[in-house]
């Protein structure tokens, strides 16, 4: 007996009592619809949560210079000066799991504007990619450009706190501020971010090209922004005047400040304080880390067995928390879904048992015209599976429609999940087989003589 013929026989039998078939499959329908809607809404909100966490830098990997050690004395993290902007470029170029890489130099100094002044908690010299890494937008004006970075142009972006403190909330675009007596033109204002997870104000920030901060503000080519090291650095390049004379006598005739500023010496080597890297996605973070490690080993000529001159840190804790929360949520939803499907399956079994009893004569008749026990078994099993699959299909449509409605009316984020759909089909077929087997087996075990005589 061919399979399609069995299916057709089952369809005919179901069509003889469409109302009952509908009610029977309602359980599965609602179950599957609930699964699909839950999964889609769940996936949508989990993606939304992931997105908002990644805006805080969940995919961010930090490359820091390592520790310099001299005669057993460690100088602490960031005390070697081997991490260069070229490393950042190489990471971006050669590590496939890396989406963006931005070198950063840090400074901490006073910012002056007119009669106001402020010391921003963070002052970064970086590239425009920094905004991408931190998922930061410029709400007013524009970001500085790669050309600004190359030319060490004196332009900067201000965070909201700085705008409030220095400009009283007025637009600072095109205005001039002075950082350690270097005049910067404000080209843009960063969007508000609020406090980070440590409670630190993220808007208290000034961003400028790293070349500008490095060469014009901190004025050191071979020094890090390590506080103790930076304290000694005072060979200030200043375009206005040397306000704080304190330089030592040089070996060579000193250039005038104007000369020095106009003809910056070609810099062969510059170190940065950190490189901010984003992986393409959270699962690719380990790959990004191993690729960067291999690349930096090669670039820094670190032989196997030697200690690294850099450290790489990621936000493992944050992403772990995120993934465990998501997993918990998904599992909870899955439990609810399973329960509703089992309830639906019990409904199917119940009605199939009634149906077998009711159709005892039909079973007897089919046996008397030559149906074997396994033909009967197959017929009732296929009936149950067809019921479940049809219910599942309708359930998928209902669930998808429901989640679409939720998206349109409540504006909840929703994500279509092909896995959930595939799983629903498989699960409803499995429920059909599982709960349809017993009634079908019972039908196939009937004695044709008894069945024919059944009233």
């Amino acid at each position: 007996m061919k399979v399609y013929r069995t299916i057709r026989t089952a369809m005919k039998a179901l069509r003889r009592n469409p109302m009952r078939a509908l009610l029977t499959t309602l359980g599965i329908m609602i179950g599957v619809a609930a699964v699909i809607a839950m999964m889609e809404i769940g996936a949508g909100s989990s993606a939304a949560v992931q997105k908002s966490i990644s805006s805080m830098g969940a995919n961010v990997v930090l490359v820091m210079p390592g520790t310099a050690t001299s005669s057993g004395i460690s100088f602490g993290s960031g005390s070697v000066t081997t991490l260069t902007p070229d490393d950042a470029q190489a990471i971006l170029r050669e590590c496939p799991a890396v989406r963006t890489a931005a070198p950063a130099v840090r400074a901490r100094t006073q910012v002056v504007c007119g009669n106001r002044n402020w010391v921003p908690s963070s002052m970064y010299g970086t590239t425009p990619a920094f905004l991408d890494v931190r998922d930061w937008t410029v709400v007013d004006g524009d970001s500085f450009t790669e050309r600004d970075v190359l030319n060490a142009n004196k332009v900067c972006l201000l965070g909201q706190t700085l705008v409030r403190e220095l400009f009283d909330g007025a637009s600072p675009i095109g205005k001039e501020i002075r950082v350690k007596n270097v005049a910067f033109r404000v080209v843009g204002v960063l969007g508000p971010k609020g406090a980070n997870m440590m409670g630190m104000d993220q808007d208290d920030i000034l961003l400028a090209p790293w070349t500008t901060i490095k060469y014009r503000v901190t004025g050191s080519t071979l020094q890090s922004a390590n506080q103790s090291a930076a304290a000694a650095a005072s060979s200030t390049v200043n375009t206005l005047s040397n306000l704080y004379p304190g330089g030592q006598a040089g070996l060579y005739p000193q250039q005038s400040e104007v000369q020095a500023a106009d003809t910056p010496l070609p810099v062969r080597f510059a170190n940065v304080d950190q490189v901010l890297v984003t992986a393409r996605s959270a699962p690719e973070i380990p790959a990004a880390i191993s690729q960067m490690t291999a690349l930096l080993h090669e670039r820094h000529h670190i032989r196997p067995g030697e200690s690294d001159d850099f450290t790489i840190r990621d936000m493992t804790e944050m992403s772990n928390t995120l993934s465990s929360t998501t997993k918990l949520m998904t599992n909870l939803l899955l439990c609810v879904a399973m329960i509703s499907l089992v309830v639906g399956g019990v409904g199917i079994m119940n009605i199939m048992l009634v149906s077998v009893t009711e159709r005892t004569r039909e079973i007897g008749l089919r046996m008397s015209v030559g149906a074997r026990a396994r033909d009967i078994l197959r017929q009732f099993l296929v009936e149950a599976v067809v019921l479940c699959l049809v219910g599942g299909a309708v359930g998928i449509l209902l669930g998808h429609g429901g989640s679409t409605l939720v998206r349109m009316l409540l504006h909840w984020p929703v994500q279509t999940s092909p896995t959930a759909i595939a799983a629903s089909v498989v699960v409803s077929a499995a429920v059909g087989i599982l709960f349809g087997y017993y009634p079908a087996w019972k039908a196939s075990r009937l004695d044709p003589i008894e069945a024919l005589r059944y009233e």
Binding site: S368, V369, R372
Partner: protein, 246 residues
């Protein structure tokens, strides 16, 4: 070897510890093309005999040969195959599938024979329905048909596999006398023109009169003279015309 041979068939039901013997050594021969009525009071064992002849049940002991094949030792699946290919059943209460058209009711047994395409099956079902005179009722459901028409659909269903042997269990029990005549005439016609062997179970002597031979069964043994055998005597083939004739 005759068409049907029953040798010394016993059937005993075991209900708890009590043995209930129903058939006590039945031997019987039916030639191809006969029309036989099987008569007996209720509890006489005629239904049991019918079930054994119809391959729905197997005897406790004894042999049943159908077209030269020993049936009583076949497995359930093999018996299902015999029922499908060689036997047709007509029941007292028609046993049609409700809410299913006459055509599909008739084609139903063909779903258990895999060597016919759907189109062939429908074609064949239509052919038999035409033969029982229901060419204009093909798409009617049982509830839209009269009792006689329903029984004719049932006959068509029994004939759809072209079986050589037809069983009718009280075929006119639910019909009025006029329709009964029609149905019985149809049986006779099938028997005479198509050579189908018909075994008809009935308790109505009027009905049995249509058969050319009547077998009376009483208390598990065949009682009318030439059909009752000593278990040691062996089967006796009986020519047409024995028993009651029309």
């Amino acid at each position: 070897m005759e068409f049907i041979e029953l040798h010394n068939v016993y059937k005993t039901y075991y209900i708890g510890d009590i043995d209930v013997p129903v058939l006590k050594g039945v031997s019987l021969t039916v030639a191809r093309g006969e029309m036989v009525a099987l008569m007996g009071a209720s509890g006489s064992g005629k239904s049991t005999l019918m079930n054994i002849l119809g391959c729905l049940d197997h005897p406790t002991s004894g042999e049943y040969w159908l077209e030269g094949r020993e049936i009583s030792r076949l497995t359930a699946d093999q018996r299902a195959m015999v029922r499908n290919r060689q036997l047709g059943f007509v029941f007292q209460n028609f046993n049609l599938l409700p809410r299913t058209s006459a055509l599909e009711n008739v084609a139903m047994p063909l779903t258990y024979t895999s060597d016919l395409s759907d189109r062939e099956a429908r074609h064949r079902a239509r052919e038999v329905l035409v033969r029982v005179g229901l060419q204009d009722r093909l798409d009617h459901e049982p509830s839209q048909l009269s009792g006689g028409q329903q029984q004719r659909v049932a006959i068509a269903r029994a004939l759809v596999n072209h079986p050589p042997l037809l069983f009718a269990d009280e075929p006119t029990g639910n019909l009025d006398s006029h329709t009964s005549e029609d149905i019985l005439r149809m049986f006779k016609q099938l028997n005479e023109s198509d050579g189908i062997t018909i075994i008809m179970v009935t308790h109505d002597a009027e009905v049995a009169r249509h058969a050319r031979r009547t077998i009376h069964i009483h208390d598990g043994v065949i009682v009318n003279g030439e059909q009752t055998h000593n278990p040691e005597a062996g089967p006796v083939g009986t020519a047409l015309g024995s028993g009651d004739t029309v």
